[in-house]
Subunit: 274 residues, 2 copies
């Protein structure tokens, strides 16, 4: 029996992979909050959000430049402008993500589905490439994506590798982890290398202790994911790194996405800014 | 008769093409001021300098990001740090260039060989790729470089093309111009395209009026250069663009290189930052 075909004018989160970015953003704006946006809007680039006051925006931009694996910039807005003109000109960064985190002096003080009440006129938004963007290509190359198979958020871990600091901003690298059979690793590297603005190739394959990760079943962000027999862990630099930096450096104020619940852009997944 | 061979421990501006970057910087620090650094230290990347107070550094960095053809960033320093750790860790940006311009409220108020007395603790230095860096490759591909042949500074022109603004910073694109035989244009495009951090391929070939340029014999920066019979003008985006922006936007203070008198880095001419 065929599954019912969803008419394109009735978007539904039941088949999120075929939604357009505008449809997905409309659902999030209306309050939908999936476990993760992994698997949503296949073929489109997804982005991490870091919004900081203008006072620290130069340091944030310098931090991203000095740590391009963790923080590849897709777009930077003008202070106070919540519209990402380059990557999704119809969007509103204050309410088009599924969920936000509000940080004060390094502490997450709120998790909200609409950040409008917290937004400030001096905020500069940094959109940072997300590894979800190359998962369609991974699947196409025969690489399994366990967290999507299992309907979970990707597991993310704080490592013992320091980022290159920029002024007041310093902190550890965060990585996302995907288990896969050893024979898939080569394809996973080759595919993700083609997505330099989405973190590019893995930073490590194999022993989590090499990154200072003690327990793969206890990620600091996202959810644990089941390994299939023989799977090895593969680690990519992650756009949640700025959140670990906020916690370490404790700037006065920031708004980010909730880990794994990304901003879906109108750009193709292979987008690379000039 | 062979020209005398200069021993490597006795650097001299008589044969600037074979100097190392450190030797060239030492000469400039001691007061040498050539007409231009074009042709110096072949094989090494040269850079434009824009140093602005921290207060406007975010806008300057955003401007560079939004105008990558004119302002490809090679390095950004921390506020107050005059050492370019990534591109020339032994250098001092305050005195290792042949000549500087000091801007106050958009007016060039001084041209000096040592900017140390004007430097401020809140200055952030932006090093921007320079098209001199691909001239060795142009020569290698059989493309003549007229201003080097004629011992002149490259001619630079303010165009009627606006840059993409960033906050208070807005202004016109500046281009450098190289005359060459029409049959050399294809090689010039192919070669410069391989140097994306040094302005990449030309922005225009042929009619200067297309860029709003009225008179090729009267450049706004640098010197006029003689055309050989049949030569056509080829225009590249130029790292003097920020100086035109300073004049248009009139921020409180800035220090730049004097046009054509660049910072010579320790990086190879094909350097592309991560």
């Amino acid at each position: 029996m065929q599954p019912p075909v969803e008419p394109p004018d009735r978007p539904s989160p039941d088949r999120p992979s075929v939604l357009t970015p505008a449809q997905a953003r409309a659902l999030f704006r209306a309050g939908a909050e999936p476990v993760t946006t992994a698997g949503w809007c296949q073929g489109y680039a997804q982005a991490n959000l870091l919004a900081v006051p203008r006072d620290i925006a130069f340091e944030a931009m310098l931090f991203c430049r000095r740590n391009p694996r963790a923080c590849p910039l897709l777009e930077v807005t003008d202070p106070g402008d919540a519209c990402p003109h380059e990557t999704a000109p119809d969007a509103d960064l204050r309410r088009d993500l599924p969920s936000y985190r509000v940080f004060q002096y390094g502490r997450p003080v709120a998790e909200v589905s609409d950040a409008t009440p917290y937004w400030r006129d001096d905020l500069v938004a940094f959109l940072i490439g997300c590894s979800f963007s190359f998962e369609t290509a991974l699947l196409g190359a025969g690489v399994p994506v366990r967290h999507v198979e299992q309907g979970r958020n990707v597991p993310m871990f704080v490592t013992d590798r320091p980022c290159v600091p920029a002024g007041r901003l310093a902190g550890p690298l965060v990585v996302s982890m995907r288990p896969m059979p050893p024979e898939a690793v080569s394809a996973a590297v080759a595919v993700s290398e083609l997505f330099p603005a989405m973190h590019g190739p893995p930073v490590h394959v194999g022993d989590p202790a090499e990154l200072g990760i003690v327990d793969l079943t206890r990620p600091q962000f996202g959810e644990p994911v089941e390994f299939a027999p023989g799977d090895v862990p593969v680690f990519w630099a992650c756009g949640v790194t700025p959140q670990a930096v906020l916690m370490a450096a404790r700037p006065e104020f920031a708004i980010t996405h909730a880990p794994g619940k990304m901003f879906v852009t109108d750009r193709p997944d292979s987008f690379t800014p000039a």
